[in-house]
Symmetry: C2
Amino acid sequence: MSTSPTRGPAAAPALAEELRISIARLSRRLRRLKPAGPGAAEPLSLTQFAALAAIERHGSMTPRELADHEKVQPPSMTRVIAHLEAQGLVARSPHPTDGRQVTLAATEPGRTLLAEERRRKQAWLTQRLGELTPQEREILRRAAPILDKLSKS
Amino acid sequence: MSTSPTRGPAAAPALAEELRISIARLSRRLRRLKPAGPGAAEPLSLTQFAALAAIERHGSMTPRELADHEKVQPPSMTRVIAHLEAQGLVARSPHPTDGRQVTLAATEPGRTLLAEERRRKQAWLTQRLGELTPQEREILRRAAPILDKLSKS
DNA sequence: TATTGTTATACTCTATAACTATA
DNA sequence: TATAGTTATAGAGTATAACAATA
């Protein structure tokens, strides 16, 4: 019988299962949140929001870069971008040197909406985080970049 | 202009956005993992796996309890259970006193498969976790139950 | 020939609404 | 009337395959 250690590298499989299930569960819980309020414009899905936030943060990005960044396949990102563009939140422009590529940038309404969503749509999670102890928030704050590191590999 | 603190309760909105995006991205990354190897039986989706694991851990559960536990609606859990039952991984039995309820328990093949999946299907995440520093793993170990607490609210 | 991006199509997961059976 | 579970149906999100344009 294995002794199933709870610490050290050998505990990785047990931690993997716990994390995998916890992440999936919280992901479902978050996705279920009804977006924004009655007065809101067409709401953004989480993927759309993340894509818009990434575009704004990087200044400009190509669809391929976005797909890699958000861990979806290019055709999936095409749909996300189409939606953002239809809403006037991002604008395409031709790549300066490579005719195949497209450059995406946030429009002024896009930046406005982003700020608004940040203020309002994340209310649920913000509220829950506020109910944690400072120590717990600190752990999550340190965990977030590690989760991103895992996503990247 | 707000100063956007990075620590303390007031930082919750910023942390909320970071966590929300990180969780969604890692969730997509994990879901994309191609399950098991060539010799494997019909693979389990992550939700199916989590349900089976919960049933085994609790000894027995009702569909309603499972749905609440995994943050899905009852009809969604019905499908998950139907799949597990069709594969012979869980068995239903009538509730001892309440004729409406159903009791679910893992079968012997179910327990076997669970052990096998634990050993094999989580290889990717286990590998990635093994590449982290012990300090990083420790942070994730502490973060996992906090994520669960967030899911529960 | 390789790469970017798109179109067409299909699948997985989950939800809501309506129904049945039991309490 | 209220609750557990199921059936029927629909929608969101993402994937793969095939194609067009450019390098």
